[in-house]
C-alpha cells in the first residue's frame, strides 16, 4: 500500500509542527499524545478497514485514557448547559406565576394553574394574567435569540440582529400605525407582525443582487451578506424616523401608548396571543433546526458550500425568512425588546463554542431565560412601576456581554485544556 509508506511522515510532521507552534509546549504534548494514539490505531488498521461499522461506533469518540474528542466534549458541554438552563428557566417560570401584589406559594399557584382548585381569585390571577405573560416572555425570548443567532450567521456579521436590520423597526411602525388609526388593542400585535414581515420583504428585495447589465435582469446569487447588513441599517433608520414622526404628531395620550409599545412590554398578554405565538414560533423553530446542516455548510463560504451541494443564495434566503418570522412573532408579542437577539448568541457562543444544533437549542433557552428574568426584575425588583422590559434586558445583558468579551483576549478555555 503506497498509503502506508506516506503515513509515518504525515504524523511526524504533524507532531513537529504542533511542537514548534506551541508556546507553552502544552499543545505539543497533546499532539504527541494524540499522535501516539494514532500510531496505535495504525497497527489496528486492518480492523478499521475491514469493519467500517466499528469505526462508525465512535460517534461520541472516547479515545484511550477516557479523554473525549472535541466534538463529543462540545456536545457534553452543551448538554450540561442545556440542563442547567432548563432548570433555571423552570424556576423562573414558577417564580413568574407566584410573584405579584398577591404573592402565592408555589403549591397554591400550581394547583390553581393545573387543577383549577383553590381560591377563585388565585385561579383568575394565575390562569388569566400571570401564565400568559410568562409564556409570552419565554416564546418571545426564545424566538428573538434564535432569530439573532441565525441572522448573525447568515450575515456573517456579529452585529446583525433584528433590531439592526429593520425587522423590529417595521413591527414598531405597524403597531404605531395601528394605534394611530384607532384599531382595537388586540389588533396591535397583528399589525406589528405585518409590519415586521413587510419590512423584511422590502429588505429582501433591496438586498437581492440583480444583475442589471443584461437586457433581461436576473438573480445573481441571492442575497449577499454585506448588502444585507447595509440595506438593513438604511431600512431600520427610515422606519425609526417614521415611528418618531407618528409619535410626535399624535395626541398626547395616544403617543404615550404607542411609545410604551415601542420600548417593549409584556403587559396585558392574553392566552390567545400566547397560544398563537407559541404554535407559530414552534413551527419556525423546527424549520431552523431542519435548516441547521445547510447553515453549517454555508459557514464554509459560498464556493465551498456550492461544491457541497448547497445553493448559497437560496439557503441564505430560507434562513433569513425563518429568522424574520421568528423575530416578527416575538416583536408582535412583546414589542421590540432590544438586546436579546444581539447579546444571547454571543453569550452562548462564549459558553458553548461554535454553532451546532445543540447551541441553537441553547440560544432558545438562554433567550427565554433572559427575557423572562428581565420581566420579573422589571415587575418586582425595581422601586418604580411600568419600566419597559427592554430597558432591563439591556441593563442585564450588556454587562454579561462585556464581561465575556473581556475574557476573549485570554486563551480560550475550550481549546487550552
Amino acid at each position: 500500500m503506497t498509503e502506508t509508506s506516506r503515513e509515518p511522515r504525515g504524523s511526524d510532521s504533524a507532531t513537529a509542527e504542533s511542537n514548534s507552534r506551541s508556546p507553552s509546549g502544552r499543545d505539543g504534548l497533546r499532539a504527541d499524545a494524540t499522535a501516539g494514539e494514532r500510531s496505535r490505531s495504525a497497527t489496528g488498521r486492518e480492523q478499521l478497514d475491514t469493519e467500517p461499522a466499528a469505526a462508525s461506533g465512535n460517534r461520541h469518540r472516547v479515545v484511550s485514557g477516557g479523554r473525549l474528542g472535541a466534538i463529543a466534549r462540545q456536545r457534553r458541554r452543551a448538554a450540561l448547559l442545556a440542563l442547567a438552563g432548563a432548570a433555571l428557566l423552570a424556576a423562573a417560570m414558577l417564580t413568574g406565576i407566584c410573584l405579584g401584589e398577591n404573592t402565592l406559594s408555589p403549591g397554591r399557584a400550581l394547583n390553581a394553574l393545573f387543577l383549577g382548585t383553590g381560591d377563585r381569585a388565585d385561579v383568575l390571577l394565575v390562569g388569566r394574567f400571570r401564565t400568559p405573560r410568562v409564556l409570552s416572555a419565554v416564546i418571545a425570548g426564545a424566538g428573538l435569540a434564535v432569530a439573532g443567532a441565525v441572522l448573525q450567521r447568515v450575515a456573517r456579521n456579529p452585529l446583525a440582529s433584528p433590531d439592526v436590520v429593520g425587522i423590529t423597526g417595521g413591527a414598531s411602525l405597524g403597531a404605531t400605525a395601528a394605534v394611530a388609526l384607532g384599531l382595537a388593542a388586540p389588533l396591535t400585535p397583528l399589525a406589528a407582525l405585518g409590519g415586521g414581515l413587510c419590512a423584511a420583504t422590502i429588505l429582501g428585495l433591496l438586498a437581492l443582487q440583480i444583475d442589471g447589465s443584461r437586457a433581461a435582469p436576473r438573480l445573481k446569487g441571492g442575497i449577499s451578506p454585506i448588502r444585507l447588513v447595509l440595506v438593513g441599517l438604511a431600512v431600520q433608520a427610515g422606519l425609526t424616523a417614521a415611528v418618531n414622526l407618528f409619535i410626535v404628531r399624535f395626541p398626547a395620550e395616544l403617543a404615550s401608548s404607542a411609545l410604551h409599545w415601542t420600548t417593549g412590554s409584556l403587559y396585558g398578554r392574553n392566552w390567545n396571543e400566547a397560544i398563537v405565538g407559541a404554535s407559530a414560533t414552534a413551527v419556525a423553530l423546527i424549520a431552523v433546526f431542519a435548516l441547521h446542516r445547510r447553515a453549517a455548510v454555508l459557514d464554509l463560504g459560498d464556493d465551498a458550500a456550492g461544491a457541497l451541494g448547497v445553493q448559497p443564495g437560496l439557503a441564505r434566503l430560507q434562513l433569513l425568512a425563518v429568522a424574520v418570522v421568528l423575530a416578527s412573532l416575538a416583536v408582535a408579542l412583546t414589542g421590540p425588546v432590544g438586546f436579546v437577539a444581539l447579546a444571547v448568541p454571543h453569550l452562548v457562543r462564549r459558553l458553548a463554542g461554535p454553532p451546532t444544533a445543540g447551541t441553537l437549542a441553547l440560544n432558545a433557552l438562554a433567550g427565554a431565560l433572559l427575557l423572562l428574568t428581565a420581566d420579573l426584575v422589571a415587575q418586582h425588583a425595581l422601586p418604580f412601576d411600568g419600566l419597559p422590559v427592554g430597558v432591563v434586558t439591556a441593563t442585564l445583558g450588556a454587562p454579561c456581554l462585556l464581561a465575556l468579551l473581556a475574557r476573549q483576549n485570554r486563551p480560550d478555555p475550550r481549546t487550552a485544556r
Binding site: 466534538i71 459557514d299 463560504g301 481549546t415
Partner: protein, 269 residues
C-alpha cells in the same frame, strides 16, 4: 483517452461577471482518471473556469458535462456526489475543529432523517488518515499552520468521496515542503484511490511533473493542451507568459522544466 470515466467536457462555454467576459467560447475535454493541471498568467480565467466546471457560476452560454451528463441538469446534491472542489484560500468558521470541518464533507450524502451513518464515519476516518490529520482532529482549524490547514480542507474534499476532485491553487502560500506534500497526496489519490484530479497551479515545473494532462490558459481560452512534454515549449511560454526562457529536462523526472532567461547582469560569466 476520453473513454475513462469522469471526463469533463466543456462546449462553447462562455462565463463572465456582468459585462466582463472572463472565459470566452471555450471547448475543452479534461480526460478522466488523470491528473490535469491548469496553468496560465494571473487573471487569465483559470479559477473562473474551475468554478464554471463545478457549476459555481452559471455560464452565459455553453454546457459542461461529466461523462456526457449535463451538470446543469443535475440536482445540486447529485453533482456534489460526483464532483468536489477545494476553493482558493478557504476560510474555516471560527473555532471549528478539524474533525467537525471534515464531517461537513458528508453533507451531500446525508439524508434528512438519517443525518449520520456508518459510511459517513468511515469516510471521515479515511479522509483524516489519508491526509495525515488524524492527530489534529480535535484542534481548532484556526490554530493550525498553513500546511496543516490545507490538509484539513483536502480531507473535507476527500470525505465528500467524489470521483472527481477540483483544486484551486492548492499549493499557494505553502512552503516548498508543504507544496510537495500536497502534490504527492494528489498524485497518490489519483494512483491508489482512482480520483480524477483537476488543479490550478502556478509553478510550471510542478505542473509538468505532477500532471498527466496540461492546459495552458491565456485570456480566457486554452492556448495549448496535451501531455506536458508536448505542450511546454519555450515558444509557448514566451508567447503566453511573455517570459523568454529555456525548457530543459527536469533532472529528476525528465519532464519539462522552465528556466527563464537571465538578464545580462545575472548571467553566468
Amino acid at each position: 483517452m476520453t473513454n475513462a470515466p469522469n471526463a469533463i467536457t466543456a462546449e462553447n462555454l462562455r462565463i463572465g461577471y456582468g459585462r466582463n467576459t472572463i472565459v470566452a467560447d471555450l471547448d475543452l475535454t479534461l480526460p478522466g482518471g488523470q491528473v490535469t493541471a491548469i496553468v496560465g498568467p494571473n487573471a487569465c480565467g483559470k479559477s473562473t473556469l474551475l468554478r464554471g466546471l463545478a457549476r459555481l457560476i452559471a455560464p452565459e452560454t455553453g454546457t459542461v458535462a461529466i461523462d456526457g451528463d449535463d451538470v446543469h441538469r443535475m440536482s445540486a446534491r447529485a453533482l456534489a456526489r460526483r464532483l468536489g472542489l477545494l476553493p482558493q484560500q478557504p476560510v474555516a468558521p471560527e473555532g471549528i475543529s478539524v474533525e467537525a470541518l471534515v464531517r461537513l464533507g458528508r453533507y451531500p450524502h446525508q439524508r434528512a432523517l438519517r443525518p449520520w451513518s456508518a459510511a459517513d464515519s468511515a469516510a471521515v476516518e479515511t479522509a483524516l488518515e489519508r491526509t495525515g490529520t488524524t492527530a489534529l482532529r480535535d484542534l481548532p482549524v484556526d490554530h493550525l499552520s498553513g500546511g496543516q490547514r490545507q490538509r484539513a480542507w483536502i480531507a473535507l474534499a476527500l470525505a465528500q468521496d467524489t470521483p472527481l476532485l477540483l483544486l484551486d491553487e492548492p499549493t499557494t502560500f505553502l512552503d516548498l515542503r508543504h507544496q510537495i506534500d500536497v502534490l504527492d497526496l494528489v498524485s497518490e489519490l489519483n494512483a491508489t484511490a482512482d480520483r480524477t484530479v483537476v488543479m490550478v497551479l502556478h509553478d510550471l515545473g510542478q505542473a509538468a511533473r505532477y500532471a498527466d494532462h496540461l492546459v495552458v490558459m491565456r485570456d480566457g481560452a486554452p492556448a495549448a493542451f496535451g501531455a506536458p512534454a508536448d505542450v511546454l515549449t519555450s515558444e509557448l511560454v514566451e508567447d503566453v507568459f511573455g517570459v523568454p526562457c529555456r525548457v530543459v529536462a527536469d533532472p529528476e523526472t525528465g519532464t519539462p522544466l522552465v528556466v527563464p532567461r537571465a538578464s545580462a547582469r545575472h548571467r553566468r560569466p
